[in-house]
Amino acid sequence: MFANLRRMMKMHRIFIAQDLKRMMEYKIDFLTGAFSFLLGQAINIIFLAIIFSQIPTLIGWTFEEIVFIYGFSLLPKALDHLFCDNLWRVGYFIVDKGDFDKYLTRPINPLFSVIVELFQVDALGELIVGLLLIGSTIGQVSIHWSVLNVILFLIVLPFATLIYTGVKTITAAIAFWTKRSGHITHMFYMVNDFAKYPTNIYNSFIKTVITYIIPFAFTAFYPASYFLTGENPWFNIGGTVVISVVLFTVAVFVWNKGVSAYESAGS
């Protein structure tokens, strides 16, 4: 088990190195991607600032607190984007074109193999913006950065990331039956926009959906609200851990079912 894990970590490092080398081959493409992402984020923040110039608080949340939640939401999204971006390609063309064949003829887990194949450096921009936004709220929001909270913060991040990865894995796996599912992934993925804002601004239907069905609320608002208020640690932090593990387990199950239903493509 541990030898296996060590080997997987080693493979992961090698693949990341491969991708950095690949990126060096396409510098301009990388720079354009980074620029357009930063522009998008800047527009979002300006938009938030304009709204808050009209209203003092949003159901009790101040502008700085909303910025903290927004910044927090970017971290798991960025981590998933950084490590698991290749899942998009599964639904868009890897299965449809029959390119999934090669993952099945290698002696490593196909899901792992797909995921490590792409290290999406573009996501570093998201990560940096997220950290900057969180940093900018220091002193303006009442967070008590105790040792425990710092540890909880570091623990909750990978689990929140797993929610993104789980949603993408399930929707990508649909392609094994339908050949293409990229648009389904896109549809579900877009729900994450709801998670950037406090869930109590939504009606109960949307709230239920983003809490229990497509649990993106656990990637941002719930854990972030714990750090902001110190309330409900069991639900806000514990819930993130439990929901993400359950979701990812279901995702792996669906994925494995999908792999045995895979039909390849004629050559």
Binding site: R7, K10, M11, I14, F15, Q18, K21, R22, E25, Y26, G98, D99, D101, K102, L104, T105, R106, P107, I108, N109, S260, A261, Y262, E263, S264, G266, S267
Partner: protein
């Protein structure tokens, strides 16, 4: 070594009605149809054997290969390779096989070839010293040196194919599956690849299963042939048997000087007293193509008669392609069954 027993694979296919309205209809009320791509195929390949797996397009060759390599799960039936079932314990199984699909590549598209090999070395856990020896060997057999530092996307098709074959052999597999390894290559490259496959088979007793449409691949490499058509096994034996059994079809091609009365002058059937099955004439203006059974009509007689009847610019005789043999073979099967 390789046992395939009653392999069967069915695909579900949605039948789409034509037009936009049809698309909507099939969206809400999809009609599906079962397509049997492979129907009850069995064969056995011994260790160290090179088996040619042939059949026309859509016969089910690739589907069989994909079941043997563990990519597809058979609808029914089973295959065991070296005592292992590919779909069970897949990770262990694929360490013992190498796979090349001529139409795809497993190389890292944007990176130099050497990078692909060092990643594969990690994936297959090849120790450093064995990796070095292996690379030397593959370099010698497949001549990778001239392009080993170039990004894969800049390689020519022939170079890429050699690189892909080397990639599939890096971990010294016991079985090598090659799906159309010579497709789209020129004669010289084809020849090099055939030599490399023959050498690897001879030196390491690697069992090879290869699919191809090129009869020369079969003639130069395979002692054993399994032929399928419409998902069924139609022939299993060696090339010699195949030719002895189904007649040596040859093709005579020539360019006549004049098109006037060309076909009237050439009455092969009456002259050699053979049936429609044994001589087929096609022409496109002056260029004529005659397929004939050289067991019944010796090549010399064929040439002699043709040249005595018409004056030609250019003439040559070649083996008929594999499709022709399959066509005859399949026809014969149907006749036998009827």
């Amino acid at each position: 070594m390789i046992y395939a027993e009653n392999l069967k694979k069915e695909f579900k296919k949605t039948i789409k009605q034509p037009g936009l309205a049809g698309s909507f209809k099939s969206l809400f009320n999809p009609k599906t149809e079962k397509i049997t791509a492979v129907d009850d195929i069995s064969f056995h390949v011994a260790k160290g054997e090179v088996m040619g797996f042939i059949g026309p397009n859509g016969a089910g060759k690739s589907t069989v290969i994909k079941m043997l390599t563990g990519i597809l799960t058979p609808t029914s039936g089973q295959c065991t390779i070296n005592g292992q079932i590919p779909q069970k314990n897949r990770k262990q199984y694929v360490k013992e096989i190498g796979v090349v699909f001529g139409q795809r590549t497993q190389l890292w598209w944007d990176l130099p070839l050497t990078e692909t090999y060092s990643v594969l070395k990690e994936i297959y856990e090849v120790p450093e010293d064995r990796f070095k020896k292996r690379m030397d060997f593959l370099n010698e057999v497949l001549d990778l040196q001239p392009f080993i530092k170039s990004p894969v996307r800049t390689l020519s098709l022939g170079q890429r194919m050699r690189a892909d074959i080397a990639a599939s052999l890096l971990h010294s597999p016991k079985v090598l599956f090659l799906d159309e390894p010579t497709i789209g290559l020129d004669v010289v490259v084809k020849d090099n690849i055939r030599k490399a496959i023959a050498k690897i088979n001879a030196e390491e007793q690697t069992t090879v299963i290869l699919t191809t449409h090129d009869l020369s691949d079969i003639e130069l490499l395979c002692k054993r042939i399994v032929m399928i058509d419409k998902g069924r096994n139609v022939f299993d034996g060696n090339l010699h048997d195949l030719k002895a059994k189904f007649g040596q079809m040859r093709e005579l091609c020539f360019e006549a000087k004049s098109v006037d009365g060309l076909l009237q002058k050439l009455d092969y059937k009456a002259h050699f007293r053979v049936t429609d099955d044994d001589v087929v004439v096609n022409n496109n203006g002056c260029s004529v193509n005659v397929r004939f059974n050289s067991d019944l009509i010796p090549v010399a007689d064929m040439l002699g008669y043709t040249l005595s009847q018409v004056s030609v610019n250019d003439i040559n005789v070649k083996d008929a392609d594999i499709e022709e043999i399959i066509r005859r073979l399949y026809k014969q099967e149907v006749d036998v069954n009827a």
